[in-house]
């Protein structure tokens, strides 16, 4: 019996998990195109996707300019947030870490709050709902990049992940306080715009935005996969990683940079979408029974896409004439899901500790 042949049941379990997630992805993606507040027959959706011109123009526009980019945004955003969540859980050796743990969402919020709520700037932005609101994207990215830059700088000086975590939390509280000061003095209209951004939305990414978002996330995803073996070593702790020849500081910097770029980009376009990044890595670990990043990284991407597509479907259930805020839906679905997984395991700490 050689080692290669040993883990047959484990191999089957992995294939099952992958197939399951892949089928769910295809199914939900199709459902996301077919279902919505406006009823469109399936063959019309299909024809529109194939480039047919014989249907009513409003249907074609609705499918190609609204539903398709929205579904693609859900796939990209969900994948990125879940992958970042996995990375941060490894980085901080903490089961409740997520993509926003380093202050990305608070930094992005501060950027957007300064833009939307700041004195005098209200006139500069036409309206949040009209068009792509590039200012919001720039402000959000800049805010996220700033907080991540500070964290990256701290990470070179602070070795202990738990200490870094505390810095991240303090930074979140500090920027959060600045945001609430801005909110307090803001007028009703701009306050409304800001609150809408924090609800999260998959509606503001059209083809032009996707043309930027997709390559950024694609490159980050590829780099992350290349580094997956190194992230495995990072999980063992710095001493073990260094004694095995890992360039620990470089790997840590890559982890932070990837998270900043991926979660920062998604947050800029879609708002701070919670819970995907915390929930999916746990679900995927439980499903696959694996711990290596080579396997978990793509599975998390798959799982994140599935979860955000599912949440998007719920947020605009057929029969409702309005769309629910995606951020509320991800938390409503995600929180019980995490609780259920944790309940089934009842030993979440074993991911990160050696004792039972």
């Amino acid at each position: 019996m050689t080692i290669r042949q040993l883990p047959e049941t484990a191999q089957q379990r992995l294939w099952l998990a992958t197939t399951l997630l892949f089928v769910a992805l295809l199914g939900l993606f199709a459902a996301d195109l077919l279902l919505g507040t406006v009823q469109i027959p399936a063959r019309v959706v299909w024809a529109a996707l194939l480039g047919g011109q014989e249907m009513e123009a409003k249907y074609r526009i609705l499918v190609l300019e609204s539903r398709l980019p929205r579904a693609i945004t859900a796939v990209l955003g969900g994948s990125a947030l879940a992958a970042c969540g996995l990375l941060m859980q490894t980085f901080f050796r903490n089961p409740v870490a997520g993509p926003y743990i380093l202050g990305i969402s608070s930094g992005a919020s501060l950027g957007v709050a300064l833009l939307l709520l700041g004195q005098g700037s209200v006139g500069l932005l036409a309206s949040w709902d009209s068009g792509s609101a590039p200012g919001v994207v720039v402000a959000s990215s800049a805010g996220a990049a700033l907080t991540m830059g500070i964290m990256l700088l701290l990470a070179t000086r602070v070795r202990d992940p738990a200490t870094l975590l505390v810095f991240g939390l303090m930074m979140g509280s500090f920027t959060g306080a600045l945001v609430s000061l801005l909110q307090y003095q803001a007028d009703a209209a701009s306050l409304r715009d800001f609150v809408y951004w924090t609800f999260g939305s998959l509606d503001h990414t059209h083809w032009a935005e996707l043309g930027l978002l997709a390559p950024i996330l694609g490159v980050c995803f590829g780099v992350g996969w290349l580094f997956s073996g190194r992230f495995d070593l990072l999980a063992l702790g710095d001493d073990y990683a260094r004694s095995m020849g890992l360039a620990v500081n470089l790997t840590r910097a890559i982890a932070i940079l990837l998270t900043a770029l991926m979660a920062g980009a998604v947050t800029a376009y879609c708002g701070p979408i919670s819970f995907i990044g915390v929930a999916v890595p746990h679900a995927v670990r439980a499903l696959s029974g694996r711990t290596s990043h080579l396997v978990l990284w793509p599975l998390c991407a798959l799982g994140g896409a599935v979860l955000l597509l599912g949440c998007d479907l719920i947020s605009r259930m057929p029969g409702m004439d309005t769309t629910l805020p995606i951020n509320a839906v991800t938390a409503l679905v995600g929180a019980p899901a995490v609780a259920a997984i944790v309940w089934r395991m009842r030993r979440i700490s074993t991911f990160f500790q050696s004792g039972a």
């Binding site: 050689t2 080692i3 040993l6 290349l226 999980a235 095995m244 074993t350 004792g355």
Partner: protein
Amino acid sequence: MKHTIENGTSKAPLGLQAKALGVGYSGKVLPGLGVVNLSLASGQLTALVGPNGSGKSTLLRTLSGLMKPLHGSLLLDGQPVQRWGPRVRARKLAVVWTAIPPVGEMRVLDLLRLGRFPHRGWAGDDPKGDVQVERAADDLGLRALLMRPIYRLSDGERQRVLIGRALVQDTPVLLLDEPTHYLDVVQRAEVFQLLAHQASGRNRSLLVATHEVEWALQVADYLAVIAPEGLVVGPAEQIRHSGILERVYRSDKLHFDAETGRFLAR
């Protein structure tokens, strides 16, 4: 003597040599570790002993290349350790740390395979990987545990897995910090025996920092004792009768008996 080995046709690894090494933090040498002379030759197990806080772990960190010495030279396989890149160094020297890595859910096989990292190419290619994993699993009796997650192992099994991870790294030099921590007396005996086998049977050089002086005297070829006047190194038998253990572990509760090699209550 060193030159004859270097110039010889034999490709035997040269092990690890510390020459007048100064070990300490932020410019201050630790007492007893100001001028460390230590040579770890292949096929030999050296036990590093000394009271709590005497600097066993700090010395190990310095010898592993993770901490810079304050002065002196440290040769790994005949070259200054800093001259090797981190990955090349990791193909020559592996460490088992005291800390238990926080990877409870990881399966034994996956943890063992992590040890292959320094041998792997960018594409993850490592033709000798599975052979090394199998050999370590056989040496340490881990065959039946390969699919088990770490959190379901006993303390003794987990320690064998951590040692196995270092063996998989396939290095001529192996440093271990308190590998019998948490273990009962039988498990300790097992660990010491398999470490001795790695030295004599697999021709590696081992340095084992340990509190188990009595075991070290029975199993180790050499003892390195951190004493206030400096690091004293010698064959186990010689150290036993030299009186240094009596001086280093001085207490009104017990005394070292050189005849039996044991600590006895006063």
